[in-house]
């Protein structure tokens, strides 16, 4: 197995900044906006996006939370038992624009679970999806609104998003698994 670097720290920073601008553009500003990260790395990315938003629109202070989707997954009986993570939504999502944030978009099943989880929390005005990397292979009719980088990949490959807060460095790499 060999790892191939796809994004460096500076690429990642640039991608997040672009996503932040696109969010502001589509939302026409930073009002009525909430960023909800999907644990674990989605939450970290959501916090980074919020910082960038605040640097672009000083004093904007966009609320950030986490949305655990474990209990809403459709593969609870195919995988070993998953631990849950906290769901922490600091303000009501009613009539807000929720931006779901995740590191990698793949089958779309996690996002489907997130949409169900949101339904149990309230009725947002709109839900958008921001991802750092979109590797294709969707299994559901779901697409991202904001994409850091499109990464066409093979099924056997793994995309690793590395973040300073968890891994000590920023970067995205692909593990190429030998086919057998």
């Amino acid at each position: 197995m060999t790892a191939r670097a796809i994004m460096q720290a500076t690429d990642m920073q640039r991608a997040l900044t672009r996503i932040a601008h696109e969010i502001l553009e589509s939302n026409r500003g930073a009002q009525s906006l909430i960023l909800l990260g999907i644990p674990t790395r989605g939450v970290t990315l959501a916090h980074r996006l919020a910082e960038i938003l605040e640097s672009i629109v000083p004093g904007s202070s966009v609320p950030v939370g986490s949305l655990d989707v474990t209990m809403y997954r459709d593969d609870l009986y195919q995988q070993p038992t998953r631990s849950t993570a906290p769901t922490d939504v600091p303000v009501s999502i009613d009539d807000m624009t929720v931006v779901l944030v995740d590191d990698v978009l793949y089958s779309g099943r996690t996002v489907r679970a997130a949409l169900d989880a949101l339904t149990d929390l309230g009725r947002p005005k709109a839900v958008r999806l921001a991802v750092l990397a979109d590797r294709g292979h969707r299994e559901l009719p779901i697409r991202a609104d904001f994409v850091g980088k499109n990464l066409p990949s093979a099924h056997g490959e793994r995309i690793n998003v590395r973040l300073v807060e968890h891994d000590g460095e920023d970067g995205v790499e692909i593990d190429e698994v030998m086919s057998v």
């Binding site: 655990d68 474990t70 209990m71 809403y72 609870l76 009986y77 195919q78 995988q79 070993p80 038992t81 998953r82 631990s83 849950t84 993570a85 906290p86 769901t87 169900d116 149990d120 929390l121």
Partner: protein, 319 residues
């Protein structure tokens, strides 16, 4: 986790995972929509061969909040009271297609017999068996302690160094047994306090210290937690102690004893309480008492337990 039969089988890692999941379940219990879809389409049967409305409704609430379909099976007035065996009852349920069994039974070991019988091949949760164990009670007790001690920072933590005194009828208590093993696994220091008649003969082989003198125990160990156990009615006339008054004077958490405790000492009781016997109202109704928290936490912990035994890949052991 395939079954939850005894806290002795649970590793520290699994125990903390269960408590952490229970934290997230407890957040769900605080919100408007108190329901999660995790067990949608799964049927859980509450198989109660012994009356216990409290435990049964706690499990039922947990099952419903995880969207499971619930079948309640109480032995009283059913074919069981007419002599139908555990085996026949279970095979009947298996034929109906249930996905998990929560069982309370008067015979120690009945849940384990069920789990290894081959009569039914589904996860089994022990909701109290004879004088053996009551694992979810121990988990809700540990959860309550952890929450009081660490609050929002509870996640990932054990109960290392926490001093717990368990007081009362240890011999017949499934709550005590489950607590002894789980608390030890989580790193707590357990002391049992009881008259010698109400301690198991071989209690010296347990990972606990033992005292016969409650005042001495409270003064010496300065416990973080005092857990009072219920004295069952049927013990009162079987020469375990002379009478209720003497028991209460020597091993009850009387008002006087309670006031001598530091303000931070938690007072726990699995319920239902005999006020004036093992616990005074002063203790039971004080802010130090966790009795109602224990009830609330019971639902969260049982949701976590159900989630852990029901989800995950299941290897088929019988065909």
């Amino acid at each position: 986790m395939k079954h939850l039969l005894s806290t002795r089988d649970v590793t520290r890692e699994e125990a903390i995972q269960l408590l952490d999941i229970a934290e997230d379940m407890s957040a769900v219990n605080d919100r408007e929509v108190k329901k999660l879809p995790a067990l949608r389409g799964k049927t859980v049967v509450n198989l109660f061969f012994e009356d216990s409305t409290r435990t049964r409704i706690s499990f039922e609430a947990a099952e419903k909040r995880l969207s499971a379909d619930v079948i309640n099976f109480a032995a009283k007035g059913s074919s069981v009271s007419k002599g139908e065996s555990l085996k026949d009852t279970t095979q009947t349920l298996a034929a109906m297609g249930v996905d998990a069994v929560v069982i309370r039974h008067g015979a120690s070991g009945a849940p384990q017999v069920l789990a290894q019988s081959g009569w039914i091949d589904v996860p089994v949760i022990n909701a109290g068996d004879g004088t053996h164990e009551h694992p979810t009670q121990a988990f809700l007790d540990a959860f309550t302690m952890r929450k009081r001690l660490h609050g929002a920072g509870s996640r990932g933590k054990g109960l290392d160094g926490v001093k717990v005194n368990i007081v009362g009828d240890i011999l017949h208590s499934r709550v005590a047994r489950s607590n002894v093993w789980l608390l030890q696994t989580l790193g707590a220091e357990v002391q049992l306090v009881a008259p010698p008649t109400l301690l198991p003969h071989a209690v010296n082989t347990w990972p606990v210290s033992v005292s016969f003198d409650l005042d001495d125990a409270l003064a010496q160990s300065k416990p973080d937690v005092v857990m009072m156990l219920r004295i069952q009615q049927e013990r009162m006339h079987d020469a375990f102690f002379p009478n209720e008054r003497e028991y209460s004077n020597m091993w009850g958490l009387t008002q006087e004893r309670f006031y001598s405790l530091p303000a931070k000492t938690m007072v726990m009781h699995p319920g239902p309480m005999n006020r004036g016997l093992e616990i005074s109202s002063a203790a039971a109704d004080s802010p130090q008492s966790t009795v109602l928290e224990q009830v609330a936490n019971g639902v969260s912990v049982r949701m976590a337990a159900l989630y852990m035994v029901l989800t995950g890949e299941r290897e088929v052991t019988h065909d």
